[in-house]
Subunit: 345 residues, 2 copies
């Protein structure tokens, strides 16, 4: 079975043209198909329309978008244009802005003749760092999840709930929220994952798809069913990713995350957030300052006959007080101790 | 514009055959179409497949189902069979069992020769009582919602959130949770309703459809967005219906209700439950004793390519502690005072 990568650099063509290919996630799970991106505009379109999605992967893809833009024109004006276009694609995930700022910093120091090469090198470093960070998240998070089992010694698998897709499809590889689950699975610990469909875009289908690929037991539920399952004691821990973490530990993540955090707290079930340090926005004091992307009404797919107005915010804010721990590549910390515990990246 | 009724008795045919017609809610909002039901099996099918749905309307429809069964055969055996078949259609909504028990009680006292007529009369009484109860719920609930406005005197409409459909489509007429909203609208009070799509069956579309019909402003949201809107202070009160209310005030209602109750409490927004007394199950001590219907995996509509296991509970339990008031045709009471406040019906 092909294990489809989320993003690859294509071999340089005979005449020197460069491109990347991304797994088009809008076609999953029905079709797994790579899409070639060779221009800035193609990368921006792929991010806006969520062909590539997931905060870490958006950051990686945007870095490659800068490299592709410089292929056409390596001038300062072209670089500035690329950074502006890519920054405007999605407002909430801060990894995007982090990756662009890192590209800008490195390329500002790079001589114009070396700029193209430097851009590809830096994008590659960002991608490799994402893989490494996620592996580390898996190692730090696995014992935390294992300790959450309230059925010590029982034959029942560890019951983990997640939301949206914060798996390998949301990253260069390995995932964030799913990384500890993959680590446990690799250790032979029986794990079962409750996967919320994650309306309106159904990213839960992506999570189900990659868990199936990895052979991890899972069950799809309607988002609405999460409260009941927690109430019924059928969940040992909840783990999600993040699109932006404020300095005080408040977390912006896919809309619906906050409801799961409330239900987990009410049930006495630990609620964990797993994300690379690049998701932390030290300049953002608290969750209320995080911009919430409002996406198209059409995403809800209400029948045309209804002609009903729709409001479609894509993220919500989970206050630090509902989060039992943040898991980054540096280790595990309390959301309130974020500033002390995590060096900026 | 036709105002489609939810259930009507059809005129008796020349050869004496009787039938009812129900609005087929599985076709809404694309098509409004009445469906003729003339046998017990047709009624049972319509309830199982949710052509008719909503706890009060299920009760009314089941009563007519008994009458239709007796048209074919008015014997004790036939009555017993009808009661058994109808009781097995849906497990959670108690109005169904209440209506069947009422039919059984009345028909047991009725001489065999009068039994057919008595069944139609009693079904009609149940239907009329539902209409009257819902109008009363509207009168009791309207001032409660109005008082919930935290924008006293402001020009902004009262912002009410609901879940699923507990409107006129869920009842013989007027609705339960929507009855106070219709009462306010009739009084000229500007009201705007946040309508959750209510996965997996999208009964929010039914709510949007009937609010549009009534000219009440509303906006459709993904279920996942409810927490954010409450957190952002964009909701003055949440009001929902109920499928069964335990003696201690715990409420079974459409899955996802509990998550809204948690988010309302966290935001300091009142959470109300509106239902006729027939929804109260005095024999059920608390929510954990209420059977939760698990429906078909197919309702989630996951792509065939996923082949993923699905768990699809249709209801959840909102504990009495999260409910600020219950609104019945008798008035408003605290869920904990249910036993003292509400005479059994």
């Amino acid at each position: 079975m092909t294990r489809w990568p989320t993003l690859i650099e294509n071999p340089v063509e005979a005449h020197g043209a460069r491109s990347i290919s991304v797994l088009d996630q809008t076609l999953l799970p029905a079709h797994a198909q790579m899409r070639v991106l060779s221009t800035l505009d193609e990368v921006a379109e792929a991010i806006c329309t969520m062909r590539v999605r997931g905060a870490p992967l958006i950051g990686v893809t945007a870095a490659y978008g800068v490299a592709l833009a410089l292929e056409a024109d390596a001038s300062d004006a072209s670089l500035h244009h690329a950074l502006t276009v890519l920054a405007a694609t999605r407002p909430t995930a801060v990894n995007l802005h982090w990756a662009l700022a890192r590209m800008a910093r490195v390329l500002a120091k790079s001589a114009l003749v070396r700029r193209r090469l430097a851009a590809w090198e830096e994008a590659r470093l960002i991608k490799d760092a994402d893989c490494a960070a996620n592996l580390a998240i898996g190692q730090h998070g696995a014992p935390l999840l294992r300790a959450a089992s309230r059925r010590h010694g029982g034959p029942i698998p560890l019951q983990i709930m997640t939301h949206c897709n914060a798996g390998r499809l949301a990253t260069a590889d390995h995932g964030t929220a799913l990384a500890p689950i993959y680590a446990l699975h690799a250790q032979g610990v029986p794990v079962h994952v409750w996967v919320s469909e994650t309306r309106p875009r159904n990213q839960g289908w992506l999570t189900a798809w990659e868990l199936a690929e990895a052979g991890v037991a899972h069950t799809l539920i309607a988002d609405n069913a999460a409260g009941l399952l927690l109430q019924q004691g059928r969940v040992d821990a909840v783990i999600v990713g993040a699109d932006r973490i404020a300095a005080n530990g408040d977390v912006a993540n896919k809309v619906g995350t906050y409801l799961k955090a409330l239900a987990a707290r009410a049930a006495g079930v630990p609620f964990y957030v797993a994300a690379p340090r690049s998701t932390v926005d030290a300049a953002c004091a608290h969750g209320a300052a995080i911009p919430i992307e409002v996406r198209s009404s059409a995403e809800l797919g209400a029948p045309g006959a209804l002609m009903t107005p729709v409001h479609n915010p894509a993220f919500d804010i989970t206050p630090a007080s509902l989060i039992d721990a943040l898991i980054t590549e540096c280790g595990v910390c309390q959301p309130g101790d974020l500033a002390q515990s995590i060096e900026p990246v």
